[in-house]
Structure formats: C-alpha cells, structure tokens
Symmetry: none
Subunit: 92 residues, 2 copies
C-alpha cells in the first residue's frame, strides 16, 4: 500500500505546519494539476476563504508567499494569476 505524499485538500489546524503554509502547498498542487489555466485568475481570496475555512488574512499570507516565490502575481482589484513560465513578456 502506498500513500501519496502531498498536500491534502483540507487544513489541519493542529498540525505542525501553519495553515497559511498548508494552503500555499495546496494552491501549488492545484496549479500543477492544471486547475487554473494561465491567463485566467485563480479562485478569489473570498472563495479560498470559504473553501478552506480560513480567514482572509491567512489566505492573503499564503498568496503573498507564492507571489514572493514567483508562482503567482496579483493584479489589484482584478484577481490573482498564475505566472506563465513560458511567457516572459508582460508589458501589458
């Protein structure tokens, strides 16, 4: 029997990993899984808030982590988008 190692789809509030890091791992996994195609926003902060039962402040911390990693970029009042590694031109 082999258990897959990877982020679950629920947050463990008791575990050693902080919730915002867990969510970051989940988002990373969902990006790689192809849940959110390039050029389109990922789920909004509010949606993630509801989906994973977290405070928005916590969700934003996760997003900031991934932005700093270069995985996501945020467009104010528009949405949060996956960084397209194959697209190195972002003038517009």
């Amino acid at each position: 029997m082999h258990m897959e190692f990877g982020p679950d789809d629920t947050i463990d509030h008791e575990g050693p990993l902080t919730p915002y890091r867990q969510l970051a791992a989940i988002i990373r996994a969902r990006l790689e899984r192809g849940d959110w195609p390039t050029g389109r926003p990922i789920a909004s902060e509010t949606q993630l808030t509801q989906e994973y039962g977290l405070a928005r402040t916590t969700v934003r911390r996760s997003i900031k982590l991934l932005v700093d990693e270069g995985v996501l970029f945020v467009v104010p009042h528009r949405g949060t988008y996956p960084v397209d590694s194959t697209q190195w031109d972002r003038e517009n």
Copy 2:
C-alpha cells in the same frame, strides 16, 4: 492485580531523580500510552507547568531532553509534537 512499574503522574521534589527528568519520564510514558497522537501537539508548556506544578524553565528542560533524544520536535509558535517514526519525509 498487577501494578505497572513506571513514572508516576506526580513529581517527587524530595527524591533522587531531578524533577525535569521525572517529567521527561512521565511524558515518555504518556506518549507510549497514546495520550498524544502523532500529528497533534502534546500539552503546551503552560499546561504542563500547571499540571505538574513546575516552573516553565523546568518543563522546557524536560522537553529539550526529549527533543535531543529524538522523541519530540518543537515547531516555533505552533507547539511540541511527537516524532512519527514511520514518517521519514518531512520536507513539506
């Protein structure tokens, strides 16, 4: 009837064993007894402090002992957790 030989659940301040070693033995016993499942924090330092009538410093000394033994690991701002011997992957 058989009485188990092992650490009591109270601290003997007069005996030959130092309190922090007694507490370490107690925690070891409680871990083996299954009081604190893997993935969940054991009692906080404050709780242990109150529960066994010890100073915070003493409790921390016990925990450090068990951390050095590889029995526990401490996650800053989250808690102290039992080491899961069956889980040798802790990158994420």
